[in-house]
Symmetry: C4
Subunit: 233 residues, 4 copies
């Protein structure tokens, strides 16, 4: 028994959803779950195949990326998670994958335009794609700086991680988050679907217009506004 | 035992087909089954994962969207179903999904052109895409007005819901129906396949012509005309 | 026991491969197996779901499309099969599907160009797409005339059904055949894969050249020529 | 018991991964595993379906393609494997498939551009596509010459098979290798995913730039350089 059992279990279960949802090949992804009271999070160990994961081998790390408990090396992306947890105090879980369509948009260095209500059920703006990082950031403490690339993107655009729970790092791949690790995984699957639909939309009609404001507001607010009434179909 | 057991069972079974046929992610879809004698329909509860559905938790609603029986909240799209049942007296089941290819066509705001016999086996026209709704309709009783957007589209084009059992709401997603809930689900799967084939056809040959009238008539009438003889291969 | 047990079993097993190989939605496909000595073939009954098929409900039909044995209606495409068996005396099985990529090429009314060795391992030419049938043929004995559309296409191009075991009927869908029903199904799966690869090839490089003759000859002849030595990897 | 049991087992297990990873249709692929001390490798027999494979029916062949042990005919691509083992002394396993996206790039005769970090996690250059072979090479000892086409491509470009473990033979299909047969299969799956992502990237943004050098170096070196610290997420 450990006081971290709950986040270990949550991180384990969320990580195991990634292959089931078709979001990862081999070990190309990781999920973490945070304990705000203890100031630590549980994250997937590095390079361990999904079939060998268990709650026990999740690694406990604090917001300075120091290992608190666990015998395995934490995911190489741990520093990015730590930066986000430290600066975004309301989020409870983070996911990083290289899912096919979302990664293709990241490689294309384009925001994913909001083309339909599937997208607007989750966020009221395009899905942001941060520009590729500067050489200085890359050559320095890369994974740590990746966290700041994400923070800076949101600050510059004046958008809130409470309202936009998914984004792309240019040339790299998607990150999502949420109140819990499970919700962050849910968002990863939604992002992948929305990314595919957006590409198909442009292929069917290269002049497809962005969703009109009335529909954006209706769909976003019926699920997320103070008077929300919508429970996903 | 309830006099609604039959439609509860039909709605339950039809809803469970959606994930099996790959037509939904999470809870992005709903099916209802009507009892014309009682003037009510059974519909999926809102936001409940497919693995937790049972015939018992289907919600019974009348054509004014009033809950008649059931402890859970009905699907948020219930009012759209109610409007269609009220005005189209011959239909027995309705499906709404956000299936990938059909939704991409809806986002593109284009009818799906009739390019081949797979399409003509089901309907003799392009698959209609209603325009996005007016701001007034969206900001008012949105899900109720969605029903009228569908009705209006069919009326303006002079097509019958008996002959065209599938359509797209622009910027939103597909709706299908049929004599039974099971047939409505069948139509949803056909729509998704036809939507994918139509995009691929345009990619292979941007000048691909619509299907000629003789083939449309032959394929549609051999399955649906008074002298139909065709049982789907 | 019936003297047709062998072809019933062969037709049954081959039909059951179609959903396993992802080549059919619902009942959009059919396979037949011929008995040359008896002058009959066994074919899937019309409109029966794959899960309800058994060797017993395959229908036995002669080359004039007359039912010889069986209580169910044979596939609506039976006349096309009958015409091909009657005129192409060496073939042992026939498959018709509406598989996604092959059907998209048929709808595009284009031959599938020979772009690589995967294609050349099976045939030394483009995969022919017969033009859509004339209105006269369509309005007459349609399924019977479909057989002649296929025969005419091969005759006009001077290609042999021994060397080219797959083709597309324009605006409709693919047909394949082979020495046995199992081989015909194998060819259907190969056609679908080659059709997808050819579209992707054109998307990656719109100027992609056809395969050079030396490679066509090498790959085709090492599997099919008199000195063949190749057993599919 | 045989002194080749270990490579037979390794080749068997690696071959069985190909259908599980969706990299082969029917028997369109083969894997081999080498024993450097004995100067032989174990390879899949020709034309045997995956479900009938066992460690026992792997064929043992030396670097001149002479069968050393085994009653079945070795894969038709055996000579290509032999040439690569003979000239690249550090590789332990080789895979050849006709996986869909990688083959489409090969048919397009284009290198796969390095567009993102998923690619850079594995190699620091574009994935090379060797030109189609000369008629002389094709008409001669074809499978043997295919090995030299691969060797020549690497030599001309001045790249090392230690650093680039995957490539395409123009108009044909991909080959991958690695320290073990299992790693070579891993590389085949990565290649297929990277090939799909690269096509999608060009579809989303035809002007998508290649990955910047700082990101290539960071991602490649954190996994492969002398100071590597990365364990695949």
């Amino acid at each position: 028994m450990s006081k971290y059992d709950e986040i270990r279990q949550a991180a384990y279960e969320a990580n195991m959803q990634l292959p089931k949802l078709g979001l990862v090949l081999f070990t190309f992804g990781n999920v973490s779950a945070v304990d705000r009271q203890e100031g630590v999070f549980a994250i997937k160990p590095s390079g361990v195949p999904y079939e060998d994961l268990s709650p026990d081998n999740m690694v406990i790390v604090d917001f300075e990326s120091t290992i608190v408990e666990g015998s395995l090396r934490p995911s190489s992306d741990t520093k990015t998670h730590a930066v986000l947890y430290k600066h975004w105090e309301h989020i409870g879980g983070i996911v990083h994958t290289h899912s096919t369509y979302a990664t293709a948009w990241a490689q294309s260095q384009r925001d994913i335009p909001i083309y339909g209500t599937t997208h607007a059920d989750y966020l009221a703006t395009d899905i942001p794609c941060a520009p590729p990082m500067s050489d200085e950031m890359i050559e320095g403490n890369y994974e740590y700086q990746t966290g700041f690339q994400i923070l800076n993107c949101f600050q510059e655009r004046g958008i809130s991680p409470k309202e936009v729970e998914m984004m792309l790092v240019g040339n790299h791949a998607p990150f999502t988050w949420g109140k819990t690790a499970a919700k962050a995984v849910h968002n990863s699957a939604v992002l992948e679907t929305v990314a595919q639909m957006a590409l198909l939309t442009e292929q069917i009609n290269p002049q497809a217009p962005r969703l009109k404001d009335a529909l954006i507001n209706k769909h976003y607010l019926r699920k997320h506004g103070p008077d929300s009434y919508y429970g996903q179909s």
